[in-house]
């Protein structure tokens, strides 16, 4: 493993890095970054920490030539062990945008393309542009009007994101990358698939230009290698675990993961539209369609196409991409690697375990783990990989 450098954990203007035993941050294409850290508190810092409900937490570290600074907000304490000398407990934290999206409610009318509506809602939730910025990687082709009925900002965002797709009929995802240091991104799955990770700097030198490959430790592959040396190489995976490959396949077929024969019932015109199957299977499904003229003029609801085949193409793509899930366990941290990129795997090397599972994946999640070891913080990543199991 490669050690972390210059870890600073500032909670309400106090650096508590010396108290930190371990620190974990989790990023996923399904949402925002969150994390927790275990601290040994011999100075009764906790009483200060819990003085406010959402204490600002700034985490800064350096790894190789990369420096990161990330702002979080405290979200409570758990698992506290108390003895006469001090306390050991876990501090949970979450992103500024998560906190706002959970707490703030939206009651407003928005119109335009789905990505514009997402931007407008996001901007209304996050009034601090420094801590809450939205980067739009993919424009949607879905558009319309959305009356947000005084619901949580997160719920409003999810509603629009889940009903949006791009010109490839690929669904959109709203998420945060640790590498973006606080920015939130809106990207389609197809754009994620096309965004290959392979470029980072080390001491001012570009190390990789091609698609990055996560490689398994090949202990004993040759007489000169015991595998230990590989544990100091960036991107070396301790163990690949196939979490899922079309699990509950029958159930998924029955649920329409692979296509539906959609029947739309329009209540405002008392009509029925039968759509032919747009994908592999023709599982029948009946939906009640929103009125075409729900609003004045020709303005449609942003959800007006939600029951149509194009919508299910995108929706099913989002469901199917998790059919093939793999985790690269205890990986020697790759600086700059974040969710939403695509990479390749080399799980078996020259061994028999090499299979068609060694291919291109989208990084769906990363668990970043800083663990105190011999007075230094080792940086490891558990990387969640996804791709459509039918591909």
């Amino acid at each position: 493993m490669i050690n972390l450098q210059n870890l600073k954990v500032t909670v309400q203007n106090a650096d508590i890095a010396p108290m930190v035993l371990s620190l974990t941050m989790f990023e996923t294409i399904k949402g925002n970054i969150r994390g927790s850290m275990t601290v040994l508190d011999n100075m009764n810092f906790m009483d200060t920490f819990i003085a406010t409900s959402h204490a600002p937490i700034e985490i800064h570290w350096q790894y190789e030539s990369y420096q990161f600074t990330y702002n979080f907000y405290g979200d409570g304490i758990s698992d506290m062990q108390i003895n006469k000398l001090g306390k050991q407990y876990t501090i949970h934290f979450l992103a500024y945008t998560t906190m706002n999206a959970q707490v703030k409610r939206i009651n407003n009318a928005f119109s335009g393309r789905s990505d514009q509506i997402i931007y407008d809602i996001f901007t209304e939730i996050n009034d601090n542009r420094e801590l809450g910025r939205l980067m739009i990687d993919t424009r949607s082709i879905t558009k319309g009007k959305y009356i947000v009925p005084n619901i949580k900002g997160q719920e409003a965002l999810n509603n629009v994101v889940n009903s949006s797709w791009d010109n490839n009929k690929s669904p959109l995802l709203l998420y945060q990358r640790l590498a973006d240091e606080g920015d939130t991104r809106l990207t389609s799955l197809s754009d994620m698939n096309d965004t290959e990770f392979g470029l980072y700097e080390q001491n001012g030198t570009i190390v990789y230009k091609n698609t990055f490959t996560l490689k398994a430790t090949v202990a004993g592959a040759d007489e000169e290698s015991d595998g230990l040396e590989a544990r100091t190489q960036i991107g070396t995976v301790s163990k690949f675990v196939m979490d899922e490959f079309n699990t509950n396949f029958t159930h998924k077929i029955a649920s329409g993961y692979y296509g539906q024969k959609v029947q739309n019932i329009s209540l405002d015109e008392t009509s029925s539209n039968d759509f032919p199957p747009a994908e592999l299977t023709n599982i029948p499904a009946t939906y009640y369609k929103l009125q075409n003229n729900l609003f004045d003029g020709d303005t449609k609801s942003v959800f007006s196409t939600l029951c149509e085949p194009d919508s299910y193409l995108a929706y099913n793509q989002k469901r199917r991409v998790f059919n093939h899930r793999m985790t690269a366990m205890d990986t020697v941290a790759v600086p700059g690697l974040s969710v939403g990129y695509s990479i390749e795997t080399d799980s078996g090397g020259s061994n028999m375990s090499n299979s068609k599972t060694d291919t291109k994946y989208i990084i769906a999640s990363i668990q970043h783990r800083f663990t105190m070891q011999d007075g230094e913080f080792q940086y490891a990543q558990d990387i969640g990989l996804i791709r459509d199991g039918t591909e």
Binding site: N107, N108, A109, K145, Y146, I147, P149, N150, I151, N159, S163, L267, D268, Y288, L290, Q291, N293, L294, F295, D296, S301, F303, L306
Partner: protein, 283 residues
């Protein structure tokens, strides 16, 4: 179930849809941004091929309903709730069996008193925005039907079956076919102005008793416009209690083959003493 206030009823598609501002969910939404909500009608409304009832919700009506979609964009109204809006009872005054709101209106001299005596909750009322009213009152011993135009023109059928009709302006009735009025009892017609009866054909009046025609300030005239060919016939003995003035010739009918008709204006008589001599004509 959600509750809201109707903000617009001017559905551009004329489907009876309304815009509802739902409490809490639409507090900050302008009326022009609100969606059009369909209104669920009762099952006695076929709502097809132009049949059925109109939606009678008004701006300000408190309604209840559900959302048809998970994103809460399409609301469907399932009913309205009569309560009290800004201190004013929403429920109709007649439904609440309060005093007749039209009791002070002008009545005719012979107009029977109203049978209005509802008891809550027996009075079934439909009143529109302008003030048209329909009542089907099931109050025991005071059962009534009343239908009323906002002007005050109305009819009322009271508990014993008597009907009173009140028209505050002109009345006109057209019967393209035949018309029959059968009255077991008496008929009384009071006309404050003039009365005209125009009959294109014959007019037959069959009366079991007497016929009285009295004019208090004017003449009574019986005439035919064709005085040459038509006559006014008095087909009975005539009793003239006043003077009889004849402007033209008065002639009696011939009484036998030997007694010819007599013209009263110039007739003569035989001299009683000398049959060959005639008296002079009347003065």
């Amino acid at each position: 179930m959600y509750f809201g206030i109707v903000k617009s009823v001017s559905d551009p598609k004329k489907l009876g849809r309304v815009k509802v501002k739902i409490y809490d969910l639409h507090d900050n939404i302008k009326t022009e941004d609100l969606p059009w909500s369909q209104v669920m009608m009762p099952a006695n409304t076929p709502a097809i091929n132009g049949t059925g009832h109109s939606v009678n919700l008004a701006i300000g009506s408190l309604v209840a309903g559900i959302f048809l979609d998970g994103m809460m964009q399409e609301f469907m109204v399932m009913g309205s709730l009569p309560t009290k809006t800004e201190g004013i009872e929403d429920n109709n005054v007649r439904v609440r069996a309060e005093a007749d709101p039209n009791a002070d209106e002008e009545t005719g001299s012979y107009q029977p008193s109203s049978g209005y005596a509802p008891v809550y909750p027996y009075n079934n009322v439909m009143e529109t925005e302008s003030g048209h009213v329909k009542e089907y009152d099931d109050t025991p011993s005071a059962e009534r039907i009343m239908e009323r135009h906002k002007s005050g023109t109305q009819y009322e059928i009271v508990a014993n079956g008597s009907k009173t009709e009140r028209i505050v302006r002109d009345n006109y009735q057209l019967v393209v076919g035949h018309d029959t009025l059968e009255v077991f009892g008496d008929v009384r017609i009071i006309v404050s102005g003039n009365a005209d009866v125009a009959v294109a054909g014959n007019m037959n009046t069959a009366v079991g008793g007497n016929i009285d025609a009295t004019s208090t300030t004017g003449n009574i005239t019986l005439k035919t416009t064709d005085s040459v060919n038509k006559k006014v016939v008095l087909d009975a003995n005539v009793l003239v209690k006043g003077n009889l003035v004849v402007n033209q010739t008065t002639t009696t009918s011939a009484q036998s083959s030997t007694r010819s008709a007599v013209v009263l204006d110039n007739h003569t008589h035989d001299d009683f003493d000398s049959p060959t001599v005639q008296t002079g004509t009347p003065n």
